[in-house]
Amino acid sequence: MNKLYEMYEVDDRIYKKLVELDYFFFAASCAKRCYKGVEFLTQQQGFLKDVVVFDYHKFRPKEFNTDRGEYESYYKYRKLKRITEVQCRNEDDAVLHLNTMPINTGSRVGLDITALSIPDLFRIIYVLKEIKKVEDIHIFYTEPKHYYFKDGLFSSYEFLVGERKNKPIPEYFTSGREDKEILVLFLGFDRVVSKYVHDRVMPTDVVAVNGFPSYMPKLKDISLINNYELLSTIGKEKIVSTKANNPFSTYNTLCEIKAIYKDYLLNICVLGTKPMALGACLFSIDNKDSVKVTYPYPKEYNISGLEEGASLLYYKI
């Protein structure tokens, strides 16, 4: 618990503290903020050696949205020099590519998690940490300036659209030692999803984790309101808070939950922010035998948000 950590907001002064990177990975996206990290780092002469972009077809803009600037935004990566494209048509393509790369323990690896889906984030870090045994990973993340709400703030955030299939992330499947299972659900804004996950997992117990403080103060309330169905079912005693943009805070929160629910298998499901997912990911890797990670995989993603970025954050894990 309370691990020492490094976390900065990256600017011209701070970047000098960072090590040069042998590999830098990021994902293509329509959201403008997703290129903030790679653009900033490529401006620094010789800072990045090998840059790899994961072009996840599931995030590509829809054919009929050509006039909305999403194409231009998505394929912005093609303007970057000396970059390797990895076409990810299937769920496994990114991690299998990563597995074939000559990365080793001492490699200096950077990863921008901004545009990664939460399951992909978990899987990539698993390969880097558990298969390639990379010692330090340098993570970059650009916070959003706004979220995309379709019809107003209080009920309409839809990042993951429609049907969900609740599945384990395969690299994080654990049977557990007993039948007792606690669902640790990091709340997001998508309405009713948390309740849906709870219904499908059918755990022995549940803890809902709300991100606080959030990028905007009101977001913490919106996430509570949009998760009313779950929270009213489980009762307020089962809600805890963690810092929304600090993976280390998430890690510590999970340590506390684990200390309370000693004999339980922790079923972690992150519907919240990427930094929360990052913290949960590190915790899961450190507690393999008592943690599994599941996720309600959507049929499709809503990729219409041309989100702008706020600050660029750096974490060393």
Binding site: D92, V127, G162, R164, K165, N166, P168, E171, Y172, P296
Partner: protein
């Protein structure tokens, strides 16, 4: 804020998250209600499938059958020889639940189908073995097994598992390590080139369960004649791998004395196939099926009252203040007359404006309005309006009303007016009362209210969990003032301890919204199911608001050609999913699909959705909406206007013409 507000006795605590002790704490025997024979549940060698909708009480029953619950019961009953108790019951139950994510895991594993099957079966063997070891360990710790017997048993089981553990606890530890190794393979298999070979080396033992059960029987004298009952809950989560377990079920015989109790949802048995040639599972030969359906609404109401009251009793303040009978707390039944009065309170004559359809002249309209008035009961007024709009003269309508109110009506009376008064009574009491309130609510731009124990019982469609959800959301609507008035001030308006209608209605609506939204998320045709639900709901809503009340309370539907749907895999699959996920219910027995029509299956929406659409939760015979296959397809894929659904026959030719035109224009563009 008042502390009582937080004591919501209906906060989630379903059977799945209950410990075995809690199962007994909340246990209300459902056997008599479901006509289940408790004895045969314990001692039948033929496997029993317990089928019931989500929240119908399957898990509670299955956990109750397990060793740990039975042991608690035996202890509470002062039983000294526990093994003898099990011997008399006929079996020892080992409870195991298939989690959805476990079933789905196999979709993500990259290896051959046969390896996946082997892996599934191996996991099954390990998981059940672990449950058996938990039971044996508990028997040992509770001194039901003496040192010699347990030593002998651990030695035998160690051999079977190829381990060398001196105690049950060590065996469990070793077994967990075995499971962990397999988990590890699952995590990393896609990153190894020789993954399948590695797995084969890990899966060293087979037939574990059979061998272990056999060694128990031969080692523990008291259990030499006992059946080992493997209880598998949520069998639907085994997905395609049911075939493997089906094979074990098919192979049940008295030699091994292993039997099964399987809990599953309707439509949750995906295959009857087994691994034995062309053999398949046969009902009443290889297994018995028990459906968890209450015979009557009356018996369901009795059961949920018992369940809810038990929960209320767990809250000290409720217990001390005698706030523990759900039937009293919600009120027995709704009162439509007072609800109607409440609707028209601020504008008692607005509904008469509907007469303007018939009476354009101001004087005629005023005469009609004044004559048809009956301020004591706006529902009666509404019926008068409908009669007059249907062409019955004002005077006859009023006379019929008066005779009905005086009780002077008769079906076989020689007096025509008394006969008509009888029809008036039939229309009001038996036919239209509910429809009248929805029409009235629509005119006043308000919603029908859903409240009372009877209403909640109907809304929950025999799903106990849904009844609990309705109560939970209602209790959340209670504020500090209510509890203060009830417990501290003991105010008059709450002296009869009924929760305000407003709170009940809000709770019911919240539950309905939640359930509708969840349909959309379901991974098995969620989008299509949601679209169909909304289309059907909107249709019924429009029919409920129809001022002519042509088809009162229509809330059932049938398919014009069910055979055609069955022959089209996609439609068949969606229809099955609609039933499986409780979006619609199929009536048990075939009936006329509508007035004067052929016999067939009737369906209705899950009644929990009724507050969402403001429709009736009651089932009425007579007219049902009949859906053609093409319309069904459209209702699955398009958000339709209710009028387009209703008038499908009329718009169909235009639609076909439009489709052909599109095709033709498309061809031209192509050229």
């Amino acid at each position: 804020m008042n502390q009582f507000i937080y004591s919501n006795p209906f906060i989630e605590c379903t059977a799945r998250d209950m410990s075995y002790e809690e199962v007994l704490k909340y246990w209300c025997s459902p056997f008599k209600y479901f006509k289940l024979d408790e004895r045969s549940l314990f001692n039948s060698l033929t496997p029993i499938f317990i089928q019931g909708a989500r929240g119908s009480g399957k898990t509670m029953i299955l956990k109750y059958l397990s060793y740990f619950c039975q042991k608690e019961l035996a202890q509470k009953a002062g039983e000294k020889d526990i093994l003898q108790y099990f011997r008399q019951a006929g079996s020892i139950g080992f409870y195991f639940r298939y989690k959805e994510d476990f079933g789905r895991l196999f979709e993500t594993i990259t290896c051959s189908t046969s390896t996946k099957k082997d892996l599934f079966l191996y996991y099954y063997e390990l998981y059940i073995t672990r449950e058996i070891l938990y039971v044996l360990n508990d028997m040992y710790k509770s001194y039901y097994l003496n040192e010699t017997v347990s030593n002998s048993l651990t030695t035998k089981i160690s051999e079977i598992l190829a381990l060398s553990s001196p105690s049950f606890e060590d065996l469990l530890e070793e077994l967990n390590r075995k499971i962990s190794k397999i988990d590890d393979w699952v995590k990393k298999c896609r990153y190894f080139s020789n993954a399948e070979e590695m797995l084969k080396k890990l899966m060293t033992n087979n037939d574990l369960i059979k061998k272990i059960c056999n060694s128990i029987r031969t080692t523990v004298t008291d259990l030499d004649n006992i059946k080992f009952m493997i209880i598998i809950d949520e069998y639907e989560n085994a997905f395609d791998y049911q075939l493997l377990i089906n094979t074990l079920i098919k192979q049940v015989d008295s030699t091994d004395s292993i039997t099964y109790r399987i809990g599953l949802r309707p439509g949750g048995l995906y295959t009857y196939n087994t691994n034995i040639g062309r053999e398949f599972l046969q009902l009443d030969r290889d297994y018995i099926q028990k459906n968890l359906r209450f015979d009557t609404i009356h018996s369901y109401k009795k059961f949920i009252q018992e369940v809810a009251n038990r929960r209320l009793e767990t809250v000290k303040e409720f217990r001390e203040n005698d706030f523990i009978d759900i039937k009293v707390i919600l009120g027995d039944r709704e009162n439509l007359e007072s609800e109607a009065k409440e609707i028209v309170r601020n504008d008692p004559e607005k509904h008469f404006d509907k007469l303007k359809i018939k009476y354009k002249d101001c004087n005629d309209f005023n005469y009609a309005k004044e004559t048809l008035k009956y301020p004591n009961n706006p529902l009666i007024e509404m019926l008068n309006i409908i009669w007059v709009l249907r062409g019955i003269p004002i005077e006859q309508t009023v006379s019929s009303m008066n005779l009905y109110l005086k009780g002077e009506y008769s079906k076989n009376s020689p007096e025509a007016m008394k006969k008509l008064a009888y029809k008036y009574k039939r229309d009001y009491v038996d036919k239209y009362k509910y429809q009248l309130i929805t029409i009235l609510a629509n005119i006043y731009k308000t919603n029908k209210k859903y409240y009372s124990f009877n209403t909640f019982a109907f809304l929950s469609s025999q799903t106990i969990n849904d009844f609990i959800s309705l109560c939970r959301n209602t209790f959340y609507c209670l504020d500090e003032t209510f509890y203060n008035d009830l417990f501290i001030n003991k105010n008059d308006f709450v002296k009869n301890k009924v929760i305000p209608i407003r709170a009940q209605c809000k709770g019911a609506t919240q539950t309905a919204i939640e359930q509708v939204e969840k349909v959309k998320l379901c991974n098995e045709n969620g989008t299509e199911m949601y679209t169909f639900l909304i289309n059907v709901g909107n249709l019924f809503q429009e029919m409920h608001q129809d001022i002519s009340a042509k088809y009162p309370e229509t809330n059932q539907f049938a398919f014009e050609n069910e055979a055609q749907i069955e022959s089209r895999p996609l439609l068949k699959n969606i229809l099955n999913n609609l039933i499986k996920w409780g979006v619609i219910f199929k009536k048990e027995r075939p009936q006329s699909i509508s007035i004067g029509r052929k016999k067939g299956n009737l369906f209705h929406l899950n009644r929990i959705f009724c507050p969402y659409f403001n429709i009736s939760y009651r089932t009425r015979g007579g007219y049902n909406f009949v859906i053609e296959t093409l319309l069904f397809e459209n209702m699955l894929n398009n958000s339709m206007e209710a009028s387009d659904v209703k008038n499908w026959q009329e718009i169909l030719p235009k639609k076909k013409e439009w489709m052909q035109q599109q095709l033709f224009e498309g061809d031209l563009e192509g050229e």
